[in-house]
């Protein structure tokens, strides 16, 4: 059983790797330059956008998984959900930092600054901080049962706070380009989305989704083994 699931996972690893290689190719080589941008640097930097959005999707998958797993833990009290929740947070956080980093690299040539206190950037940073706090909370509780309960409660608070924080964006003036939904007339560095750009974007988000799921499965397996090791150590000590 473990053997077979290991084989499936290996196949998934290969698929995820190929999908990401494909995304690199699509973003850097295949994707056309955006039509309305003028400076050389801005045009090159725009290609980061595919990874930026990819990380965004992967991060959202991780954090949403942790939210659902947190609720399921509180309802069922099964440890596996706690393991999934912490895995989701770690993965969501890693890709969330990827979102901030790729955004910064893009912002430097486009907005002429690494960082601005634009509300959308601010709320992304707040989201990252919320989940850093989640991990610190886990680190500060020794009893595994209590750690899981506290983390479950905080996981629910954290995820519910994210949309309310994002809601405040819509109320605030923003210079961040809006690529989906209504365009923002005040935004700087926005670009038209031709059909090819849209295609590359969709593919890139798809590739990052596969990557996210693969990493999540690995992380959960790692967490289960870590718990097993902890248990064996305790038995040896006793």
């Amino acid at each position: 059983m473990a053997r077979r699931s290991g084989r499936w996972l290996m196949a998934l690893d290969v698929v995820a790797g190929l999908a990401i290689l494909g995304a690199v190719y699509m973003a850097l080589v295949y994707a056309p330059d955006a039509a309305n941008l003028t400076s050389e640097n801005e045009i090159k930097a725009q290609h980061i956008f595919y990874f930026h959005m990819g990380c965004n999707v992967a991060s959202a998958i991780g954090l949403f998984t942790s939210f659902v797993a947190s609720i399921l833990f509180l309802v069922t009290r099964r440890r596996i959900w706690d393991s999934i929740a912490v895995s989701g947070v770690e993965m969501g956080l890693a890709f969330g930092i990827g979102v901030l980093a790729s955004g910064s690299v893009w912002a430097r040539p486009t907005w002429n600054t690494w960082w601005t206190w634009d509300p959308r950037l601010t709320s992304a940073a707040v989201t990252v901080l919320v989940y850093v706090a989640y991990l610190m909370l886990r680190g500060a509780v020794e009893d595994p049962g209590r750690r899981a309960r506290f983390a479950g409660v905080y996981g629910v608070f954290a995820f519910v706070s994210v949309p309310i924080t994002f809601l405040s964006i819509r109320l605030w003036r923003t210079i961040h380009p809006v690529v989906f939904g209504a365009a923002n007339p005040d935004s700087q560095g926005s670009f038209g989305m031709g059909p090819n750009i849209r295609l590359v974007l969709m593919y890139s988000m798809f590739a990052f989704t596969i990557l996210a799921i693969t990493l999540l499965i690995h992380r959960v397996r790692l967490e289960l083994r870590r718990e097993e090791v902890e248990h064996l150590k305790e038995q040896l000590a006793a």
């Binding site: 009893d143 595994p144 049962g145 902890e230 248990h231 305790e234 006793a238």
Partner: protein
């Protein structure tokens, strides 16, 4: 009054209680001994609903604790080494507060009677902060008896008390817990489950004695079947075996 069947409690994967079976009959006083780490406090905390069992059944007055915890809490009085009182409130205010939580009627009369019983009537308006250890412990007993519970849990109530204070504690418990004051079952004795490290004092209190070791009930006897020496011998043997 109290029925415990195959009770297991683990923290993480570390088992503290590994299948405890214990009963306390109505009106009976059971004294529990055991080395530190044997799980005495954990067991008391589970019975009192402060801690959740991992597996097994606990019934108080016929009610399963996980099924109706509030109904169980209403039937229990719990005294631990921590006083569970508020330092900056007076004795009377402390009792008034807990009386309201327990939804008691006729609170004033009850508080008067209890404070007299534990010998604190003269100090009723002083904040608990100014009390000696022995006085705090007596007030703590008054708090546990406030709602006239049919079952009393006393977890090492004599810890940190000098001989004189311990003797007074003994008298108060025997007197107050011995005969229930009012309500249903008037005049009947309350059931008591008590832990202590003092074998002599425990023997004097008990109808029945148990020794908890390694997360199980390792020994059980009626008081009449034991002398202090044979109890000490048995205790040393059991605790010694477990290392």
């Amino acid at each position: 009054m109290l029925e415990i069947r195959s009770l297991v409690k683990s923290f993480g994967r570390k088992a503290v209680l590994r299948g405890v079976d214990l009963t306390v009959a109505p009106g009976e006083t059971v004294v529990m001994f055991g080395p530190n780490g044997a799980g005495k406090t954990t067991l008391m905390r589970i019975i009192s609903t402060l801690s959740k069992p991992t597996a097994g059944k606990v019934r108080v007055g016929g009610i399963e604790i996980s099924y109706a915890p509030d109904a169980v809490r209403q039937q229990l009085g719990f005294v631990t080494h921590a006083p569970l009182l508020y330092d900056s409130l007076t004795a009377e205010e402390n009792l008034r507060f807990f009386g309201r939580l327990y939804r008691l009627n006729d609170l004033d009369a009850r508080i008067d009677a209890l404070l007299r019983q534990v010998g604190l009537a003269a100090r009723r308006h002083d904040p608990v902060r100014t009390y000696s250890r022995g006085m705090v412990q007596r007030l703590s007993i008054a708090r546990a008896l406030l709602h006239d519970p049919p079952m009393l849990l006393l977890d090492e109530p004599d810890t940190g008390l000098d001989q004189h204070a311990a003797a007074m504690l003994h008298r108060v418990v025997a007197e107050v817990a011995g005969v229930r004051q009012n309500g249903e079952g008037e005049g009947k004795r309350a059931s008591v489950l008590l832990t202590t490290h003092n074998l002599e004092r425990g023997l004097a209190w008990a109808d029945r004695l148990v020794i908890l070791a390694g997360g199980r009930v390792a020994f059980e006897a009626r008081r009449g079947d034991l002398t202090e020496e044979s109890l000490r011998e048995t205790y040393d043997r059991i605790v010694g075996e477990r290392g």
